[in-house]
Symmetry: C2
Subunit: 387 residues, 2 copies
């Protein structure tokens, strides 16, 4: 006799096919829009009749817009369908020195964006953020908001309820997600930069079936977002992806994690600053952004420091390539601004490993908007599978 009563959600009801097929239609549409119903049927493998039913529903719910009739050869003219600019999500990008609020429609277009000033008092910061979101919703009340996507630096807990580790962030965000959720009555999804960017990359990918990819986020620390088997690998306690804390130097310098010689200690921003100071005679105190500026102005020592960092990045990425054989490794972070100087060094070192030959290695372009646009998959991947 079994008495447990777990409210399992693993069961499939007779509504499941509709959920799956709706997601499928939207996926195909995202990659091929604008597209007609027949082509949607051809591309998805569904029957035209089924496509029509689903499309009707989606148009009615403002996911899709019916467009022009295409003048073609013979026969009835197909009507083009596109993702509606009416549906949007609210994006919140929390960055060490600034917080950005934006409205992004489901096509990925940033409709509106602005900074939100944070306060020294974390609680006040959250209040301001909530107020700003309310304001934005009112201003854009003509659009249907699908939810809120929050992109944070640092680690979130398994359920992405709280921010549990955010060294750079000077205001620890306690229960931001739940407070936002109850204040706005919208679905709120929060995740760290690396995971969010990984989701965005998959979302934007043109390939039919998603392949595994890894996002390496370089900042004060080194974080990775692992997209494996159709989802973000979270691991126990949401701690997966700490390649940055794999030791790579036998007698390295101490790391924040308590260990010594972690990859993070030789390949993140502080390491580049350190390399610079070791080179220059009059040891100046420079921040990483300043280092980037120096490099941009042609300063040799700073470029050299960035190259050293790049080599160390490439070296660590060998581990990622060997461990996971992802199709792509994508670098995110301020350092991508210096990609021109780093590319050769990082490539040279990375490709030394026999298992690194076929991995595409590239920077995430336009990182600032990427963090905002990532709110779309952040919200929709769950919203769509959930209903």
């Amino acid at each position: 006799m079994v008495r447990q009563n777990q409210p399992t959600v693993r069961t499939a009801s007779n509504k499941m096919p509709r959920r799956v097929n709706t997601k499928l239609i939207l996926d195909v549409l995202r990659k091929h829009q604008p597209v007609s119903r027949v082509d949607l049927a051809r591309l998805s493998g569904l029957q035209p009749s089924t496509v029509s039913l689903i499309v009707e529903e989606l148009v009615h719910e403002h996911w899709l817009d019916e467009g022009e009739f295409v003048k073609g050869a013979m026969g009835r003219r197909p009507q083009l369908l596109s993702l509606s600019h009416d549906r949007c999500v609210i994006a919140i990008d929390i960055h060490p020195r600034q917080t950005t609020l934006a409205v992004v429609d489901i096509t990925g277009t940033i409709v509106w964006q602005d900074q939100v000033e944070s306060s020294p008092d974390p609680d006040e910061s959250v209040r301001r953020l909530i107020a700003a979101v309310r304001e934005v919703r009112r201003k854009h009340s003509d659009r249907t908001c699908a939810g809120i996507g929050i992109c944070v630096p640092g680690r979130t807990d398994p359920a992405a309820e709280h921010l549990i580790f955010a060294p750079n962030l000077h205001w620890p965000i306690l229960a931001l997600k739940s407070r936002m959720q109850s204040a706005t009555q919208l679905p709120v999804h929060m995740d760290n930069v690396a995971n969010a960017c990984a989701l965005l990359e998959v979302w934007q990918s043109q390939s039919a079936e998603p392949h595994d990819l890894v996002v390496v986020e370089v900042s004060e620390g080194l974080g990775t977002g692992l997209y494996i088997n159709g989802g973000i690998a979270r691991g126990r306690g949401g701690m997966a992806g700490e390649f940055g804390h794999i030791p790579v130097e036998q007698k390295g310098i101490p790391c924040s994690c308590g260990n010594r010689g972690c990859w993070e200690t030789v390949a993140a921003e502080p390491a580049a600053v350190r390399y610079y100071r070791e080179k220059v005679r009059r040891k100046p105190l420079v921040s990483f952004p300043e280092l980037l500026n120096l490099a941009a102005s042609g300063d040799r020592d700073s470029i050299s420091a960035l190259r050293t960092m790049a080599r160390q990045l490439g070296r660590g990425m060998q581990m990622i390539a060997a461990a996971l054989a992802p199709a792509e490794i994508i670098v995110v972070g301020d350092c991508t601004a210096a990609w021109a100087w780093m590319e050769r060094a990082i490539e040279q070192e990375f490709r030394k490993h026999p298992l690194a030959q076929k991995v595409v290695l590239r920077p995430c372009m336009d990182a600032a908007t990427a963090r905002l646009r990532s709110a779309v998959p952040l919200v929709l991947t769950e919203t769509l599978t959930g209903l």
Copy 2:
């Protein structure tokens, strides 16, 4: 106008809920058998009526056996259901020095097993294997065979059609899968030891929802099977899991991959043999099995060599813990016979890493039968989702 006609299988028909729920029922049953229909409903979250329909089907197709009526307190007596011993799979375990053929029923019981002698001629070996399978099917024709699961040392190609890398194996198995498939008209699934064992561990797991886990296979080389996000992580070209080829020594000895100082060079069987030879004055040529025997007879030097290997294993597993945060790391291989001597060393080294604290580290017990029993999930995970 779109002209592509990909025969996509991503669509959901109205039969999909049945597939999903059937799999769910079997999953719950596997973990709680014997169990009644009502309890199945409670545990799965499905309605009793739905459970009855699915159970009826499963009984009819010989997946389930109806058992006794339980004498309980009041009310109509529930009828117990169990996995049928009637359904079985054929397991083929290809091991460096021997190939084992077995009949395993879906409960995991090994019904019959025997060795198949291999020939110096690979082609002849395949023919003998096929003949042996035919013989076994005739002998066990009273059972319904769900398919064939082949467990191989070495790497298979992405579609697991061919064996592409099997250094230890002296007969390269060309197209074993397809030849077996056409010869027997049964679904054939082939995978390497680490992946197969990972699937088995998940299959046997008593926890409700599967957690990520990693199987480390120690033999001549070091291979891993990564179970992440509900499936084996394969990566591009099926090359995921090569933690063994991550460099861990700055100036290590050359590795078969072309690199130097890979984890594999310091923690696999040849490394243990090397450590032994470095210790002993009269350098004797011993194989790893001989080393294990020496250790079993109390020989200090061999035990010391195994301990050194164990420390190196623990060291490399830190990488796995940091990278993936799996709930478990499971060691497979002949060396598990020496676990008594290795455990402390491996634990001590492994737990040094701050991210390795919560990972369960253990050997796979009864590895020989594990390789055979893994044929069940190897065949059924796809068979069940496929229909």
